[in-house]
Symmetry: D2
Subunit: 374 residues, 4 copies
């Protein structure tokens, strides 16, 4: 039986809402049946029509939607939040209070305080909360995590993540590029620019794969774009409990780089290398042996997948996996079944960790790129 | 408004039916509402339940389904045929005769004669017919085709395609591997093995991108697998009208190769290189200039896409594009609108070309690997 | 103690002579002490001065040089022949008759008859004869050969070689490009163009690595360049004793390809992939296991080398290895020591095999691309 | 006319001396005629015999050699210093005082003070001094430098260098691995481990290509190897005059990495990417255009080279280029010719910059990974 999905945000002209809808459709677990697609009533209504949503389930406000859907016998099973970042927390709060599970785009909130409040609310309500840190959905990222957990590369010594884009290399925000405009505006994006937008993905990937607990960071942030206030380039050093180290380089001004996300994990007994350019491959080198190319669907790889090896899966499949897992979590919740204890998909606590990362990074930067405890 | 899709084949335990369903869902153009999912009535019914199909629209036979759906006011807008190969032609015939557009998995038929009959029937009925040659849906394959058509590499001199798999390297058909069993059985697969199963994809890709018209081929087919009757390795030479040449190497016994599909086009004024290992990239070398890496969504690339450059799209997105285009074709058909004249997605005539390729290849082989006119 | 090297050809303005000299110097086994560097006496003398050769050992003709060096107590230990192709056989003959070992650039001769005569002469004289098929000197090509010989990939089923260049894509021979002029002139190059110039390298690589004995071939040769007589593009099918198959694509008109030499070997129990773009790597896939990247100097690789893994060796090092081995062979010859029985470097019989390949290819082509027994 | 080379260090059992000898031979500019190959007289003498050096020019001490060679009418034109690091400065001092040009392996010295003294001595004597920072000899590294200098990527914003090895992942120094033993011993290697051994190469590459002047750094050094005192992993942040930033990750404990040296330069108008895994390629992305693969010897590349594009050159060729340039510098010096003003090969001042880098890195580390002015 399919689950019923509602959506807040994602109306005409928006980008990430469409990606969520594809991801939700991919494996056939969800039907989109309700939405507050825009704060502009006309655009909200038109979007609902375009998406085939019944008029009565197209709402002008997220508050009205939370209330109405909670009251319906056939109300939504979960809401997907794809609004601008500063609305994530209030929308999530409204739906959680209405007893509705949440699937929320990252970042979790605009401030650490809001994020902490959400963590408390999720704990109190016991409701499912899924944070769509997309890269955690890649099969070979999960394989990497599983290999680390299974001690295949020994204790982790160093983790390195690069996340590079080039779309802000020129000051496109001045030319009316809407995505660039809100991302470079502190009023809409908060204190962090690049470190918040993509640095958090790099940070999440590092901890997701290694399981390491960070205890300090140092960030050298730069706003290279002419007239830009928020950072568009972030160099971050990390220290983890137990002595491991890490480095993140995130940049939005690196010509030639297109969502260039690359991870290297150095362990005492082996190493891993993964690159979003060919996400179906993972290089594993056990010390003293040749490097092996592990392939999704290929020999020696256990992580589930949709297609045979060599027929590439990509970003939408990774995203779809998060929605498939969200379906499983919501179904178990509704059936009051115990979780299987193997929660892989990121949740509200991961979102809080991301907010701590951003806050600490900005604080480090303001102190002149000094060490900050996490 | 979504279109209504029916499906023949693709019940529990089948593989390609599930891929079609994902592809159909991906862009939200189709709802699966009816099906004859298996020739085994029980399995058909259970599959319908699993897929959320109303019992009244779950059929025991494709013939019954074609008749019933044609009679319903809310009958399906198209049928997807995902049966074993030898049923493609009879099923397609039944639905075309019932006035229902067809989306058919490749190969088109089991014999050239059946394929020719289908071409005639499609011409007579004027119905839309889409052949899911998946690789033609990759954005950078289309970009390659567009570059050739726009004369960016000049007159094509040579086209080279490699399609390599390794799953038949060992005689797995003896161990009960079902996919291997029917593919190595002449009774179920016809006269061609590897040349039919993946050689046709290579051939289709070569002609799709270059627009060249083949006039002769020579095929050296081999059955390396112990006790195997059908070829599992095919070396093919091609000659095209106008003097261009081509080579295809297709193999299902190449260890380390996982759907390794690779295309190189040599033109008088430039060259192209594409590899399914990183389908979002296309190398273009204009003579006398450095090689350029064209990227889906990147600079200088016009072909439409779903995601920004660097967030990889893959096989399912390519497949989904065929379904999205099928939706457009069916809508225009229903609205009696003229086609836009830019039919890109393969159709019944491409299927016939594939059947000629297989037949000529086998004939060449039987003659001792000699030249055969196409 | 260093050996004394003489050289025929390679005067000012020549290309390959300089490469031989670097290769000879690389490991310090040879001193160049004599030469007939040009058939033009003035250029010969000037070249000798430039190369620091004593005037008395600079010769006007190879015949004079062979005679004089054979008579000197401190005469050369070997001669390197780097003349235009049609002189290889007469020069080699002169030095062999004078009792001097030969290091000869490929091809061995202009005709099969001349090549056969050389094979006989080498057998009669018992003199060392090294044919500089450079690609056989790459460490990972040798590792590939060793892996096949050690049965690591089982019986070979198919071997595929691509050798692609782009420098003849346009008719540069008309613009006075000297290298292009002689290579496209049947009077200077013989019956084969691309098939002789680089096709033989591909053929040699295929047989060197696999040890397979070819028994038939079919060649579809094309002269794409406007006004060109000799082929600049060659598609070749091969059949080997024992049932293995092969394909070669050699082209000199492929834009974007720069000495793009690539080898894939398909065995019953595993596969190999090597590409000159990164010659220090070899992909080995044992059936049922992940692909391993074997690296020169890395784990599990026995072939000798000069530098630690990761510090790339290239073409000159491969060439230098042939000279180093030539030194070992000549030293053992002078000491009347037995060979160690592990002759790896190509010799006169490999040169004859190459001549047979060219002759059969051209014959196949003239018959309309038909099968020819080797 | 060839130049005469002497060598200090590089006797039997040493590694880098052999590499210098190959590099010196490669282009035929140098003859090795004298040496103090070892501090052990017997090994020194035997090495001289092996290398074909006249007994009278085999010395027991570098001091004796400097004196004797300076006095000979046919004395050496330059000395190559390939001793353990702590002897670089005293040996160089001795030869400079004797009026003999120096080719010195890196690092320049053991301390900043010694390095500064050498800079003064070179200035006073006016003698040529070449520091063999090998990676600066790669053609495409030079092309990168030339592109930056020609403003092809605009003002540099960020430079990123990774230099990864894995040979110290396990505590091999305890097992008697000689190279590991001295590199992990502060008494022989000084205060820096990985940061000195390979971090300096990364630093040199960053400044060589960009021309940026560093003004501060921060280093987080770690000794992961059990019982190890010196760092084997270094994370470094850099700040340059004018506002550019940089990051270096150097590690000797990264399984799977084999001299993995990789450089990315981010400029206002374009980006560059170079990787030692395929040193003949350089990716150039002008903003708003597709990435171009520039190839040594290929279209649009001016930097000189030895071989046509596609025939790979590697580390030894890069090293050989430094020796070829050293020959040019020494010849101009002897002829009292003016330099051509385009000194590319690193010299004593680059060595001093490297020593400052190490000293500042260690000081930063000792302060708890804090910023240090350079």
């Amino acid at each position: 039986m399919r689950l019923k999905l509602g959506m807040v945000g994602g109306g005409k002209g928006a980008f990430i809402g469409g990606v969520h809808r594809i991801a939700a459709r991919l494996d056939g677990h969800w039907d989109l049946v309700a939405g507050a697609f825009s704060s502009d009533p006309e655009r909200a209504a038109q979007s609902a029509v375009d998406l085939g949503i019944a008029a009565e389930r197209s709402y002008d406000s997220f508050a009205a939607m939370a209330k109405a859907e909670a009251a319906r016998p056939d109300g939504i099973d979960a809401v997907a939040i794809v609004t601008p970042n500063h609305l994530h927390a209030p929308v999530a709060t409204a739906f959680l209070r209405a007893g509705i599970p949440v699937i929320c785009d990252k970042p979790l909130a605009s401030t650490v305080e809001d994020a902490e409040a959400l963590v408390r609310l999720v704990t109190e309500t016991g409701l499912p909360f899924i944070l769509t840190q997309t890269y955690t959905g890649y099969p070979m990222v999960r394989e990497a995590r599983a290999l680390v957990a299974a001690d295949r590369i020994g204790r982790v010594r160093h983790v390195q993540v690069e996340y590079l884009q080039d779309w802000l290399a020129e000051p496109v925000e001045r030319g009316g590029q809407k995505q660039a405009a809100w991302r470079t505006d502190p009023a809409q994006s908060g204190v962090g620019g690049c470190i918040a937008d993509i640095g958090t993905h790099a940070f999440n990937l590092a901890t997701f794969v290694t399981g390491l607990v960070p205890h300090a960071l140092l960030a050298d942030l730069t706003a290279f774009g002419s007239g830009r206030v928020l950072d568009d380039n972030a160099a971050v050093l990390l220290r983890f409990e137990g002595g491991a180290k890490g480095m993140i380089w995130a940049s939005q001004v690196a010509p030639g780089a297109k969502n260039g996300l690359r991870l290297r994990v150095v362990g005492e007994a082996g190493g891993l290398l993964w690159d979003q350019k060919h996400p179906d491959e993972l290089e594993l080198t056990p010390i003293g042996q040749p490097t092996r190319i592990l392939r999704r669907g290929g020999e020696g790889v256990e992580t589930p997948y949709r297609l045979p090896a060599g027929h590439p899966e990509g970003y939408l499949e990774a995203f779809g996996t998060l929605y498939a897992e969200a379906a499983g979590i919501v179904r178990r919740f509704r059936e009051k079944a115990d979780s299987d204890g193997k929660m892989v998909v990121p949740t509200v606590s991961d979102g809080l960790a991301g907010m701590h990362f951003i806050a600490a990074g900005v604080k480090s930067h303001e102190g002149g790129a000094v060490w900050i405890r996490l």
